[in-house]
Subunit: 341 residues, 2 copies
């Protein structure tokens, strides 16, 4: 198996910079669209054969150095007691919204084997299919990011209700965060036990918080999650979107790898993160709409700067956009391998 990705996570010597792409199994790939046409999004997530099929597509088509489970961060919220609907164009809708004590107190911590067996089955199936290929990454949303969906009832621009609760009823907010954290721990532990060889925690909305609020209302729950997962012995990646103000704090999470977005210079980020962690990132996803020459210059720069880190996994600074030409994603993987090898 190509273990370059796992080695980079732990800061071990590698022959080249490994790469995978956030949302690499997704709408920009015609092969994904073909599968997706047959079933709705939730059915795709919940059918191991299909979820495994789309997970493998970018491994074969792009030649990335890791596969990531095809699923959605909102999947574990359903068995907690929240009805989740994925509406085309409008994004996810979650009901009831979690703003009242009596609703929050009804939430349960999930039992993955009973509640999300399809996720564990997908992982087991994938491990068999990936045997001589690349490692498999499992994932979940970070507690704060999941909380925003539960409180807002979907995506949000300003996180008005989340912050209103955080600033005016912090105990209530923390009681919700604790429940989500326990579910996250249970969910990721089960993924690792089923065969995930690394896990990524997506804190997609942490960057909406001031550093002080992040320290108080998000970070402790990430720390607790990572603490519980550490004994399971797989690399833990903590992706902090819009991390520019948060890196010094994110470093204390205990993660083996900090994933960063493109709005920071990776060289400066490495300095701020120090020698104790590997770094993942951080090409602007929109760079895949460049001329090849412009793309190559950007990729070479990130690879060069990334060498200063304990370990560097190349990735985009956020998920690949549905409009991305697949040939540019292929080109990117080739470039990273050639320029770093």
């Amino acid at each position: 198996m190509n273990d370059t990705f796992l080695r980079a996570c732990m800061g071990e010597k590698v022959d080249y910079t490994p790469i995978w792409i956030m949302r690499q199994a997704g709408r920009y790939l015609p092969e994904y669209q073909a599968v997706r046409k047959k079933v709705d999004f939730l059915t795709l997530c919940k059918t191991p054969e299909l979820a495994a099929e789309v997970t493998l597509q970018p491994v074969d088509i792009l030649g990335v150095d890791a596969a990531i489970l095809f699923s959605d961060i909102l999947i574990p919220l359903e068995p907690m007691g929240v009805k989740v609907r994925f509406l085309e164009k409008k994004g996810p809708q979650l009901r009831p919204v979690m703003r009242k004590k009596r609703d929050i107190e009804k939430l349960t911590v999930i039992n993955p084997k009973r509640d999300v067996p399809f996720v564990l089955d997908t992982i087991k199936l994938l491990r068999r299919k990936l045997r001589r290929k690349v490692p498999l990454i499992g994932f979940s949303g970070a507690p704060f990011t999941l909380a925003t969906y539960m409180i807002e009832g979907g995506s949000s621009k300003n996180f008005l209700e989340t912050k209103r609760m955080m600033f005016s009823a912090p105990e209530l907010f923390h009681s919700l965060m604790k429940r989500i954290t326990e579910t996250t721990i249970s969910y990721l532990s089960a993924q690792i036990k089923a065969g995930a060889q690394a896990v990524q925690i997506f804190d997609s909305w942490a960057g909406a918080l001031s550093p002080d609020d992040y320290r108080e209302h998000s970070l402790p729950f990430v720390k607790r999650t990572i603490e519980e997962l550490k004994p399971l012995g797989v690399p833990i990646i903590y992706f902090v979107n819009n991390c520019g103000g948060l890196l010094e704090l994110a470093r204390t999470s205990g993660a083996d790898v900090i994933g960063i977005d493109w709005r920071v210079d990776i060289s400066k980020a490495i300095t701020r993160l120090g020698k104790g962690v590997s770094v993942q990132g951080n090409l602007d996803p929109l760079a895949l709409f460049s001329d090849e020459g412009v793309l190559e210059k950007k990729v070479a720069d990130i690879i060069k700067k990334g060498r200063r880190a304990r370990g560097h996994i190349f990735n985009l600074g956020h998920g690949i956009l549905p409009q991305t030409p697949p040939e540019m994603a292929k080109k990117l993987v080739q470039m990273v391998h050639e320029l770093s090898g």
Copy 2:
């Protein structure tokens, strides 16, 4: 006149920390709503008596230390040759979108006296009405931020078309940026000559760029703008939204004051900006949905940290939200004055 704001901009001694609020004349105020009910948004911008009336409202109601011209950053784009419509809920719509050479070449540099006399008349009217009160701030969008609206045809989530042009046709992009920059210079110069006692350049979307792209595609045009305005002798504030990765670069803009958003710690920002500039910011606009005790803690913290800057103007880290209770805005102004005095 209360010149505390102007003194803080230039790093002179002040008796307390001055405060104004981005979008302080706006929808959260019932008094604004009352005026707005009578006319549409563009008519309000273009009628000096009404624009002046809503500009003055927060000065009287909140007791802020500066007034800011009521207008919109898209106003100078109309006389350049772009049709701008403000659609309720859907946001602005600009046509034609600027993606082709022949469209960009048709754009003209505005002549403010001829093209936007209502802006200059509003400023003159306001200076008379503000005589013994507070200074008046003029403003414009930064060239990059204005370019995104022109290229996308409105607001945008990912700036796909803007970055596509930037990365695949940089000369074309720069030719658009140059035209916008000349308009911005002419527009702000005219505002200052009409009586604006400070100007703020809003780079609302600069934070969507990687630091390298910001250095190449946005900053030079801001620098050129500020260079041209400097001889006019009023303080220049450069607001960089989502500045976490950009502060060291923004510092080189030549502005007297750097406005920062709430996603960075103001103390760290001051260190990164150095002693040569004053700092404006940076309370999370959502903090106005807090308990008073929580708000006070946050305000006191920012004031304390702000003392390390050459000068500090208190502000939110982004515009005040329409849903904000007006009494919380009042409370904020009182708190800043009391805690810093």
